[in-house]
């Protein structure tokens, strides 16, 4: 009897010890390297690979995602209209998917129906919140289309100059340097700072939004140890009316998905909503004087926000291929991973379990880095200076050509191949690029094979 009691006591103690033990991180070498989006990874290599919902969504959430999906494709038309009313009067395109085709990166042209490149504008200086100083009569973005009877703000002319280069082993490549000019401006205006921005892919954003701010800031510290100087961009969020960490956009100038989506409706399509109730051309000669604002129902704005928030990440391919593995090692060795940080862990989120505590591999630190004069737009955007850009996530990179063909890379789509994209890196990335250029052809190909596996 005594012996029996002792056994029970020992067993309970063991259980208690077990219960009190801190859970340890799952060892990296036992993770499935294909799961770039954690549990929210999908296995698809087709043109639809960026357009899947999180597999972990509840039935209710899936319905909202699907509603947002439908709305994302809706074409807006001029007011008044029974369906999708409110386009413009000045705008850049007519639907979300016109620019974010297949939820991927867009086409770097301006003014055509399928164009996905727009121009941000400002004057030197800053507004009351430290953001870009709007241009009188234009605001912060050039709308290059207008409904009939109204004037577009101007037209964007894009031209390229081409230059051949070669590696030491003779392999050649070509870089095209873009030049942007604004013509047919509806109001004379000089001294404008301009920044071209290509519509980026929109998958995985809900996971990036769920990364704790502390974790992103810690990457700034780690980067400094590796000779790079990542900086957070703190931006004004018009939705929350607070200054917050910027995460989205090529310069991390948007703090939340809701802000990004609402702003895109407002500025890109001329569609007003609860958070952006004023037409983009208010105070300008193109203003429609209609009392139809907000033009987009809150439920639809939230559904589109949720659609973007819950787009899953495509899985990596060929993760055990020896060449890919060698490329992965080289990626780290030359310092790419100093900014294109491989792994993040999202915060616990009991309100939205799908994004809670996920180990993800976005290959970004979400921080600003000086990328050199070659890529500079010379237009500050909150705390980002004219040479700084946010590290672009690399997940899904190898599927760009499957989703939208031909593929384009970088903030203005100037790069047509991954080699071109690498070769445009300068500033803090110049050292890594130099090491890439010194590689043998087989090592370069291994590094590219790794990038194509993402």
């Amino acid at each position: 009897m005594t012996t029996f009691r002792v056994c029970i006591t020992a067993g309970v103690s063991a259980l208690l010890i077990q219960a009190c033990r801190e859970p340890q991180p799952f060892p990296d070498d036992q993770r499935d390297q294909r799961l770039s989006g954690g549990a929210n990874t999908v296995f698809d290599v087709s043109a639809e690979s960026f357009g899947h919902p999180f597999p972990t969504l509840s039935g209710h959430d899936l319905k909202i995602h699907e509603l947002g999906d439908t709305q994302f494709d809706q074409t807006f038309v001029a007011a008044p209209a029974p369906v999708n009313s409110g386009l413009g009067p000045i705008y850049n395109n007519v639907s979300c998917s016109s620019c974010h085709h297949n939820d991927g990166i867009g086409i770097p042209t301006a003014g055509d129906p399928q164009s996905a490149l727009l121009i941000r504008l400002s004057l030197p200086g800053a507004d009351a919140h430290g953001g870009p100083l709007p241009v009188p009569g234009y605001g912060n973005q050039l709308q290059d289309k207008a409904v009939l009877g109204k004037s577009p703000e101007g037209k964007v002319i894009i031209s390229y100059t081409y230059q051949k280069y070669s590696f030491a082993d003779g392999e050649s490549f070509e870089l095209r340097t873009p030049s942007y000019s604004l013509v047919n401006l509806y109001l004379p205006q000089g001294g404008m700072l301009i920044s071209p921005r290509l519509a980026p892919p929109v998958f995985g954003l809900g996971l990036l939004e769920a990364v704790p701010e502390d974790e992103i800031l810690s990457l700034a510290t780690q980067g400094a140890q590796n000779g790079v100087n990542g900086r957070p961009n703190y931006v004004w969020n018009p939705v929350t009316q607070r200054t917050e960490l910027g995460r989205f956009g090529w310069k991390a100038s948007a703090a939340s998905i809701l802000e990004q989506v609402g702003l895109a409706y407002n500025q890109d399509m001329g569609i007003t909503s609860e958070y952006f109730p004023t037409e983009s051309c208010a105070g300008q000669s193109q203003f429609d004087n209609l009392s139809d604002d907000p033009e987009l129902a809150d439920s639809l704005l939230v559904a589109v926000k949720f659609y973007v928030q819950s787009l899953a990440v495509p899985a990596r391919r060929n993760v055990n291929d020896p060449t890919v593995l060698r490329g992965e090692t080289l990626f780290r060795q030359v310092g790419c991973a100093s900014c294109h940080s491989e792994t993040m862990i999202t915060a616990v989120n009991v309100a939205f379990p799908a994004v809670s505590k996920q180990t993800i591999h976005p290959f970004t630190d979400l921080l600003l880095h000086d990328m050199g004069a070659g890529l500079a737009d010379n237009r500050p955007d909150f705390q980002a200076n004219g040479q700084e850009w946010r590290t672009a996530p690399l997940w899904g990179l190898g599927l760009f050509a499957s989703v939208n063909y031909p593929p384009y890379y970088l903030h203005d789509g100037r790069a047509r191949t991954l080699i071109e994209a690498i070769e445009w890196h300068g500033g803090e990335a110049a050292h890594a690029k130099g090491l890439f250029e010194q590689m043998s052809k087989s090592d370069r190909e291994a590094l590219l094979a790794f990038l194509m596996s993402l």
């Binding site: 087709s46 043109a47 074409t75 007011a79 007519v94 129906p113 009939l148 499957s402 063909y405």
Partner: protein, 356 residues
């Protein structure tokens, strides 16, 4: 004990062997009867190219009919133009069953089939003095071009006398612009032209310039497109007018061609699976039947059931959303069943049985 143990072992071994003998070894089908490359080659040659060619020819007929209406605005010519519009719409809606490649890359789809039509802008354009030549039409936003703008003009007036001269000119330029677009679309797949056909025929042959690095990826692109149109028909085109009880949300509400549009979309799925458009080729169905005959039979049955279910929706869809909701729900359910089988069973079959 020893005997007993030995007996157990012998019995166990016997059962193991018996089990092994009664089962057919789960070998992967070789697909020797129909190779994936044959499926891809014939899909391009027998389905897509003839479909686009048919579309181009019918769009030329449509242009001729609308141009004739522009010259002689009789009710008879209006009916001819309306029928030509429906005839061109058929191959277009079927082609939506395989919406990938140039039709997406070069935005041919939105340039001819954007919905909704921007009627406010269209009325402003007609009321203006803006030129309406085909070169002017080409520069218009998608929501002022294509099938639905032409539908509004051809079916919205009631009779030929109701058409203004600017409306007729606009219609003729719209039809010409569509014909030019479909000519470009046809050429984009033509082996003598843009040769997107080559992307399928040569899929998986190792060239870096190929869209599909594997035949598996090319086949999955076809299946993904088949699934995509199922979703669009059941969950958007049919669902939106039904759930909102609003016939203006129906895709071809002016011509009342919507049900025919939906059926043609699913016919496109059938064409892709059975490799059929006017003639037959080596099909995905045949490839599947080699490895999993019951899956092939089920897919064919689901396609046939989805198509047949449209027969239960009588009259215009714009009225059916008020009077035949059960029949519409049944069709949506049939399409959902088909989509589920495509997304799960067929996709897994290809992932499992196509090597590269």
């Amino acid at each position: 004990m020893v005997i007993c143990r030995a007996g157990t072992v012998v019995l166990g071994l016997s059962l193991w062997f018996a089990s092994g003998c009664t089962r057919t070894p789960p070998t992967a089908p070789t697909g020797s009867e129909v190779a994936p490359q044959e499926v891809l080659t014939d899909f391009a040659a027998t389905v897509v190219n003839p479909n686009y060619q048919d579309l181009q020819v019918k769009s030329a007929t449509l242009y001729a009919a609308v141009a004739q209406l522009d010259s002689v605005a009789s009710d008879a010519n209006l009916v001819i133009a309306q029928n030509a519009w429906r005839a061109a719409r058929d191959p277009w809606e079927m082609a939506e069953g395989y919406l990938f490649g140039p039709i997406e890359d070069f935005n041919y789809d939105p340039s001819v089939d954007t919905w909704p039509l921007d009627r406010t802008e269209l009325d402003s354009l007609l009321a203006s003095a803006n030129p309406l030549n085909v070169s002017d039409i080409d520069l218009l936003p998608y929501s002022l071009k294509g099938f639905h703008a032409l539908e509004y003009l051809l079916f919205g007036s009631g009779n030929a006398a109701g058409l203004t001269s600017r409306e007729k000119q606009y219609a003729a330029s719209l039809a010409e612009s569509m014909m030019n677009t479909f000519t470009a679309l046809r050429n984009s797949w033509d082996p003598q032209g843009g040769n997107f056909t080559g992307q399928l025929v040569n899929a998986g042959t190792g060239s870096d310039t190929l869209r599909f690095h594997t035949r598996k990826a090319a086949l999955l692109a076809i299946v993904g497109a088949m699934s995509g149109i199922c979703s669009e028909v059941a969950d958007e085109k049919m669902e939106d007018p039904l759930v909102h009880r609003d016939s203006t949300l129906s895709e071809s509400s002016v011509s009342h061609n919507s049900t025919r549009d939906f059926r043609n979309n699913i016919t496109g799925v059938s064409n892709a699976y059975l490799c059929h458009y006017q003639t037959n080729g080596r099909s995905l169905s045949e490839f599947v039947s080699v490895g999993n005959a019951s899956l092939d039979a089920r897919l064919r049955s689901l396609i046939a059931a989805a198509l047949a279910s449209f027969d239960n929706i009588s009259g215009d869809y714009e009225q059916a959303i008020f009077t035949q909701q059960v029949q519409i729900h049944n069709t949506q359910a049939a399409i959902h069943s088909l989509k589920d089988a495509l997304d799960n069973d067929l996709t897994i079959f290809i992932q499992t049985n196509v090597q590269n």
